[in-house]
Symmetry: C2
Subunit: 383 residues, 2 copies
């Protein structure tokens, strides 16, 4: 294994889901847990990076780095907010890895509040992650974009609605094992999924992730503190044109492929070395695309792993043991940081009833828009 590019010293996360808590309250809860987990004080922190997407449209509060860094008062720390749509959190973690060139013990906080805005206004705000000028205003909102991805995958590879249902069932089952997941739907079954109304054909209600509030925090360092420190072996970000209409394929995100390739190269691994994956399943079809972009399966072949149960906990390559975005929740700016939190728990063997046995290398995959930005992190290895 190569020298890790960074270590995660501590991690914290609120439960994802609707809440009356404010952005500073959510951030503080995650920060306190991360500091406690790392056994650090606020004065040990060297910089603060805030991942957030909708602070402006949903909260009328920008400049959130000042709000969040101000929770550690008197320190005048370097801080900024990172926004890359739904990949804001993962990109913020990548920035922390880069910023180790100057700072240490960098606190990355992903935070989002979404439940305070509803209906068409929220649809419009989320749509700001996509091409507003040509796509979103014309009605090609996010469910519609991912419906195009699904239709293309069905046409090219013979994927079926039943494959998507299996992903939904798996992720809801996993979320039931995660106390910080958005959904704990003990009774969810095939009949419930079949009864879900269509959202954008072929996607039905249970193919779509929920709207969540929440925060997650991790502390990134250039050096191992103790045996609980989790190495980051590879960290990469790539981007693409914002609209599917500008690309040559709808069944793969080139930015995800580029980020995975770069992260694996840095980590000196290939996809066969990966024991578990936390991937960006904003819609069930996105989990299939993610598995293929991460080279966990050949193009069009991820469905085989799903049908065989190989992506369940206990399978060959568990995907979204946390419940994923689909059932664990999607608090946009917090999601990518929450994937790192989950990976830390898995790699330490602290994931309780959803623990992936023998987990020693994990990958976290966070997507903005319909693949306009993607981050990939490889964690684990040398403990």
């Amino acid at each position: 294994m190569p020298k890790p590019c960074a270590y995660v010293l501590g991690a914290g996360k609120t439960r994802f889901g609707p809440t009356s808590k404010t952005i500073p309250q959510l951030a503080q809860e995650a920060i306190i847990e991360a500091l406690s987990d790392a056994r650090l004080d606020p004065c040990d922190i060297g910089a603060v990076i805030v991942g957030n997407f909708l602070g402006g449209p949903n909260e009328s509060q920008l400049h959130l780095n000042s709000v969040v860094a101000g929770l550690l008062p008197g320190l005048n720390l370097p801080s900024w907010r990172t926004e890359a749509a739904c990949a804001s959190g993962g990109v913020a973690v990548h920035q922390a890895v880069l910023a180790l060139s100057r700072y240490d013990n960098i606190l990355v906080v992903g935070v989002e509040r979404m439940s305070n805005v509803v209906g068409m206004e929220l649809t419009r705000n989320i749509g700001m992650a996509g091409d507003v000028v040509l796509d979103q205003i014309a009605g090609l909102n996010f469910p519609a974009n991912y419906a195009l991805v699904a239709q293309s995958h069905f046409a090219e590879y013979g994927t079926t609605p039943r494959d998507l249902e299996l992903i939904s069932l798996k992720n809801h089952a996993n979320a039931n094992l995660n106390p910080k997941a958005h959904f704990h739907l003990k009774e969810v079954c095939q009949a419930d999924i079949d009864a879900g109304p269509p959202v954008a054909s072929p996607l039905r209600l249970f193919d779509c992730c929920p709207v969540s509030d929440g925060a997650a925090a991790v502390i990134i360092s250039s050096r191992r503190a103790d045996s609980r420190s989790v190495p980051i072996l590879g960290s990469a970000v790539a981007s693409d044109v914002i609209s599917l209409a500008q690309r040559s394929t709808c069944t793969s995100f080139p930015a995800a492929r580029a980020a995975a390739e770069a992260a694996y190269a840095e980590a000196h691994i290939d996809s066969r070395d990966i024991d578990f994956a936390e991937v960006h399943d904003c819609f069930t079809i996105a989990e299939l695309v993610a598995m293929e972009d991460l080279a966990l399966a050949d193009r069009g072949q991820a469905t085989m792993l799903v049908r065989d149960g190989q992506t369940s906990i206990g399978g060959r390559i568990p995907v979204n043991a946390s419940g994923g975005l689909k059932a664990g929740g999607h608090a946009i700016g917090a999601t990518g940081v929450g994937q790192i939190y989950e990976s830390v728990l898995q790699l330490r063997g602290e994931a309780g009833s959803r623990q992936v046995e023998g987990a020693s290398v994990g990958v976290a995959h966070n997507v903005g828009g319909v693949g306009g930005t993607c981050s990939v992190h490889v964690l684990g290895g040398a403990t």
Copy 2:
């Protein structure tokens, strides 16, 4: 002189001011000029960082890193958007310096469109840079915040409205020499300033910067390309609590002092080595506070330099030879990048009729909100 932490290989900037151009059009214009200035092709670029503040509220378009990096198609570059209120641009440049640990020839693009939103809606949107919960909604908007700063400075140090007028006159005179400035008011004089309506006492119309559209771009590298490459000797960012009500003083921004101290230490200079400064004069009073925070004058003493004409072009320490935000314009996310553009021109001797003679060390100072975030860059030295 120490080894520079980075070099600016090329710089470009649109004129600041109202325009019908869109964000991608503005960004493209600045990018093409920066690439041409650096004699680089798009495929030489290693990463793209976008500084922008109001993409969400003003444009309904977030994920601007994908939009802007997508102007260099087929490259799948690492990219993200940085937001730190009005310091978004300066912080984006700092991030590029940090990211040289992994990438090279980093394209930093600051871009903002403001003239498409007017009146109370724009006031509300700009207010998102301040504390929305307690300050802005209660009426303590940005002119009111800086009026408190001015009243405090008047009370503590005997500063007068006439001092602020001198700053306004100087910056309008400088802007007349800058073809890319927002204002070219050939006739602006004392009588015009006196006739300006009060905005928030003691600030009148000519104490306030305008609402500008615009973009600026710079290319940051770890190595000198040729004799036109401009060294960055120091780069720092610091933050503070967001509201003046949370701080012990209104006449200084601790984040600016912390950033200046860190940047000067990295550059191995003190303030007496500085030949010119581009500072964040969103209001005239902010120029005085900036000079004191940058240690160009002792606290309360910056007025003496202004009264003596020492901050004019040809004076001992020219401040805002570009016209500053006040008259050069304030296209928020572009402003901090535009300060680097101006510094590059000055240090190369390419600033035309506003050239500061003998300019060899310059400082750029960019503030978010009322000092919630500040970046300071020291440029020049070893050419």
